[in-house]
C-alpha cells in the first residue's frame, strides 16, 4: 500500500546548514590536535589527555546511543506523538560511525602489548589492566580484560550500533520516497530483537570503556546507569536542537508546544530514573560496606570530587526534579530549552565524575591539592569531539527531509494534544 501525499505542506530540510559539515569536522580535528600537543607537555604519557578525551568521547557517544535507544523504543511502542522527532533522532543515531575513528585513538596505543611494546606507558595511560605488571585481582580478570578481546568487543559494539542505526535510517528514508506502510511494520518487528542488542551492547560497552578504568571495581547496574544518563542527554539534545531549528524558521509546521511538552516529560522521567539507579548503586555498596566495592566511591569522597558528588545529587536530580515538575516549565519552550542545556551540562559532569577521578587515583597528587580539575585540554576535547560529532550529524542529514514525511503516524503526531 502506497501513499505519496504528506500531511506536511513543505518538506523541511537543512540544506544551507549541512554544507558546513566539513568545516565543523576540520575545526574538531584542529581542537583535538592542540589538546593532544598540550597533553604531551603534561609529561604523564598522555594519561591526562586520554582521560579527558574519554570523557568527551563518552559524553557525545551517549547522545548518539540515547538517540538509537529512542528510535528503537519509538518503533517498539508504536509511538504516535513523537513521529516528528524520529528523523532527527535517526540522524543522531546514524552519525555513530564518527566514533569509530575517534575510538581508534584510544584503541591503537592499547594494542602495543600485542606487538611486544607493552612496556610503553601510553599503552596503559587509560586502562590500568593493560599494564605489563598486574596485581593478583586484576590478573584474574585478564581473560576478559586484555587488549585483543577488548578490541574484538569494540568491533562488535560498533558493528551492532551501525547496523541498527542504518537499518532504521535507510528504511525510514525509503518510506519518504514511496510511502510504503509495510516498512513501518518491518521496523516494528525488528525493534524488539534490536532492543536486546541495545541492552547487551550498552551494558558491556560501558563496562569496557568506563567501568574498567578501575579494574578492581564492579557494579552490575553500571550499564543501566549509563543508559539512564544517555537518555537524559538525548532528550536534552533533542529539545535544544528542535528549539534552535525553530529559531531558524525550520520545523515550525511540524513541531509545536505539545511535542516539546512530551520531550520535557520524558526528560523529567529519565532524570528521576537516573536518580533512582544512581541511588540504587550507591545504597547497596554503602550498606554492604565491602572494601572491593567501596573502593570506587572512596576517591569520589575526597577533594574536589566530594563536591562534585554533591553537585550531581542535587544538580542532576533534586533541582531538575523540582524544576521540571511543573507543567509550565515543560510548556514554555524557552524555559524548557534552558533546562535542557542545564541537563546536558549536568550529564557532562556525570561522565566527568565517572572518568576523571581515576586519573588522580593512585597518582602522587593528594586529593586536596587537585583544585578545580577542569582545564584547557578538557575544553578542547569537548570542542573537538563535539565538532566532529556535529559535523557527522550534518553530513548524515545531508539533503534528506528532517521529518519522516510519509510515516503513517505523522498525522497523529501533528494533531497530538496533551489533555
Amino acid at each position: 500500500m502506497s501513499d505519496t501525499s504528506s500531511p506536511l505542506k513543505t518538506t523541511p530540510k537543512l540544506e544551507e546548514l549541512t554544507g558546513r559539515w566539513l568545516l565543523l569536522m576540520i575545526a574538531g580535528v584542529v581542537c583535538l590536535s592542540i589538546a593532544l600537543v598540550l597533553g604531551l607537555f603534561q609529561g604523564d604519557s598522555l594519561s591526562y589527555f586520554y582521560h579527558s578525551y574519554l570523557t568527551s568521547f563518552s559524553f557525545f557517544l551517549s547522545i548518539a546511543l540515547g538517540a538509537l535507544f529512542f528510535v528503537t523504543v519509538s518503533h517498539l511502542v508504536r509511538m504516535g506523538w513523537g513521529v516528528v522527532f524520529r528523523r532527527l533522532s535517526e540522524c543522531m543515531a546514524a552519525s555513530v560511525w564518527i566514533f569509530i575513528p575517534l575510538f581508534l585513538v584510544i584503541l591503537l596505543p592499547m594494542l602495543l602489548p600485542l606487538i611486544g611494546m607493552g612496556e610503553m606507558k601510553v599503552a596503559y595511560a587509560l586502562f590500568p589492566w593493560n599494564a605489563p605488571e598486574l596485581d593478583d585481582l586484576t590478573l584474574h580478570k585478564t581473560p576478559y580484560l586484555n587488549p585483543g578481546f577488548f578490541a574484538i568487543r569494540a568491533v562488535v559494539y560498533f558493528a551492532v550500533w551501525i547496523w541498527l542505526s542504518r537499518y532504521f535510517f535507510t528504511k525510514s528514508l525509503k518510506q519518504d520516497e514511496n510511502g510504503n506502510k509495510d516498512l513501518t511494520i518491518q521496523m516494528q518487528s525488528f525493534s524488539a530483537p534490536a532492543m536486546y542488542l541495545i541492552g547487551l551492547t550498552y551494558t558491556f560497552a560501558s563496562f569496557d570503556w568506563l567501568m574498567s578504568l578501575d579494574p578492581h571495581w564492579f557494579s552490575t547496574i553500571f550499564g543501566v546507569y549509563f543508559l539512564a544518563g544517555a537518555a537524559c542527554a538525548f532528550f536534552s539534545a533533542m529539545i535544544i536542537l528542535s528549539y534552535l531549528l525553530q529559531k531558524r524558521g525550520l520545523l515550525k509546521e511540524a513541531v509545536n508546544v505539545e511535542h516539546f511538552h512530551d520531550l520535557g516529560k520524558l526528560l523529567f522521567g529519565f532524570v528521576c530514573f537516573w536518580g533512582y539507579i544512581a541511588f540504587s548503586q550507591f545504597l547497596l555498596i554503602w550498606y554492604a560496606n565491602i572494601p572491593e566495592e567501596t573502593v570506587w566511591y572512596l576517591p569520589r569522597f575526597e577533594g574536589p570530587w566530594f563536591g562534585l558528588s554533591f553537585v550531581l545529587i542535587f544538580g542532576h536530580f533534586v533541582i531538575p526534579f523540582l524544576g521540571l515538575l511543573s507543567r509550565k516549565a515543560k510548556r514554555v519552550v524557552p524555559i524548557l530549552f534552558l533546562w535542557a542545556i542545564y541537563m546536558l551540562v549536568m550529564h557532562f559532569a556525570d561522565i566527568f565524575w565517572l572518568v576523571m577521578p581515576q586519573y588522580y587515583h593512585g597518582s602522587a597528587v593528594e586529593p586536596a591539592e587537585i583544585g578545580i580539575p577542569f582545564g584547557v585540554i578538557d575544553l578542547l576535547c569537548i570542542l573537538g569531539v563535539g565538532g566532529l560529532y556535529m559535523g557527522a550529524f550534518l553530513k548524515t542529514v545531508g539533503a534528506h527531509s528532517i521529518v519522516a514525511i510519509h510515516d503513517p503516524r505523522l498525522d497523529e503526531s501533528l494533531a497530538f494534544k496533551n489533555t
Binding site: 541511588f279 550507591f282 545504597l283 554503602w286 550498606y287 560496606n289 507543567r327 489533555t419
Partner: protein, 497 residues
Amino acid sequence: MSESETTAPSTDTSSEELVYLLAEFKKPAQVLHAAEKVRDAGYQKWDVHTPFPIHGIDEAMGIKRTIIPWIVFGAAVVSGLTAFGLQYMTNVEFYPFMISGKPINSIPSNMPVIFELTVLGSALTAFATMILLNKLPRLSNPLLRNERFRRATADRFFITIDAKDPKFQAEGTLEFLKELDPSHIESIYEDYSTAKMPGFFFWASLIAVILLLIPPSIVLYMRATPSKTPKYHLIFDMDFQPKFKAQTVSTLFPDYRAMRPDVPGTIARGELELDDRFYRGVEPGGNNQVAQSESASQGPFQTVAFQEGAESQEEGGSESEESDSEESTNESQPSEDSSEESSESGDAEEGSSEEGGEEQASAQDPGQDVPWVTSFPIEVNEEVMLRGQEKFRVYCSVCHGLDGYSDGPVTHRAMELEQGTWTKPVSFHSDHVMKQPVGRLFNTVTNGQGKMPGYRDQIPPEDRWAIVLYLKALQRAQAASLEDVPEDVRDTLRELR
C-alpha cells in the same frame, strides 16, 4: 416522534421541583459548540455529559486547571517528611542502636522508606482528592432516572443546566437552550422516591459481613491453638531440606544431639590456640585455674554452655587430688557467691562500699587466684583503641551503655519492664571492675559473666582485646581530672563548663 423534534417540558408536573434542564446533541462538535455558548452566557452550575473524552471540552466549558497537582505535591512532601521523621524518631530518639557500624542517623538507609511512603502518600491523595473534587460518591441523581439520558454512555451528548444556577430562569433558560439547536430538550424533576435502603440490602450486607468474619476468625483460632500436624504448605520454598538444624535431635548419635561437639582430645584445623596470654588472658599455665573459676561462677550451666571449661576441669581433676578438693569447695558456693556478688555490685553503685566488705567479697571471688595477664598481649595504639570503640558500640553498648554506666537501651527497657529476670550489668566505673586486670576483662568478654553471654564466637580475639583496651580507656577517661588534658585545650574545656 422524530429525534429532532423539540418537546416542551410538560406543564402538568409543575407541582414538582425542577432540578435540571437537559439538552441532547447528536455530534461531539455540536456539544462543543453549544458548551462554548453556555460558558459565554455566564452560567456557573452546568455540566456536559459525553460517552468519551472530547478534546478541547475543558476550554469550551471554561474549566480551570485542576488544583490536584498542588494537593498531591503537598501530600508528597508531608509523606516524605513523615517517613523521615518516623525513622529519625525510632532510630535516633527511642532506640539508638548501632547497626553494622553505620551512623545512628544514616540518611541513605532512610531513603527507600522515604521514597515508598512519598509515592504511596501522593498516589492515595491523588485518588482521594479526585473522588472528592468530583463530589463522588453520589449514589443517586434525578438524571439517572431519565431513559433518554442513558445514551450518554453510548452515542449521545448532553448539556445539563442546574436550576440552582444564579442565572437560571424557567422560561429564559429554556429559550436559550432552544437556540443552541439541540435535538431534544427535557426538564428533570426532583426524585421524590423513598431514600430508605431496600430490605434485602440490609440482610445481604449482614450475611456478607458475617461471612467475611469467618476467615479472620479461623486465622485467629489457628494462631491461638497449638497443633501437632505440620502446617499446610502452598509453596515449599526451601523449608524441607535433608539437613539438621541447630539445637535439634538426631538419632544418628547415642547422645541424640544433631550439633556435634569437638571430639575429645582433638583440635580442629586452624584452632590451635596455644598462646594462653592472647587467647585466654592468663599467664602460661594458668589455664586450669580459669576453668575452676569458671565452673564456680557459672554453676550448673557450665556443662552445657562452656564445653571447654568442663573438659579442662576433668583433666585438672585427674592430675591432682588437691585441686579436686579445692574444686569441690568452690562448687559448693555458687548460690552464696552470686548473692554476694550482686550485693557487692549494688554497693559499688551506691558508692558507699567499705573496705572490709570489699575484702570479704574479693576473698570469695573465684577469679582471685587466677594469674590474669596484666599487660596487653597486643600492640597498644590509638588505632586499636578506636577499633575497640567501634566494636564496643556494636556489641556491648546496647546493655552497658555508650559510656559504660550500664544505661544502654536494652537495660533501660528491661528495667522498665520490671520482670525480675534481668540483672543490671555492673558499671565499668565501679571499684570492683576498675580493679580487674585486663586478662580478667578479656575472659569476661570471651566467656561471659553471670547473665552476660560470652562473645567468643562473635568477636575474634584481636577485637576482644581491642574492646578491653577501649574499656580501659573509658575507665581512665571517666576518672580523669583537668590535669590529664593537654595544656592547649584546657581553656576550651573551661569555657564549655
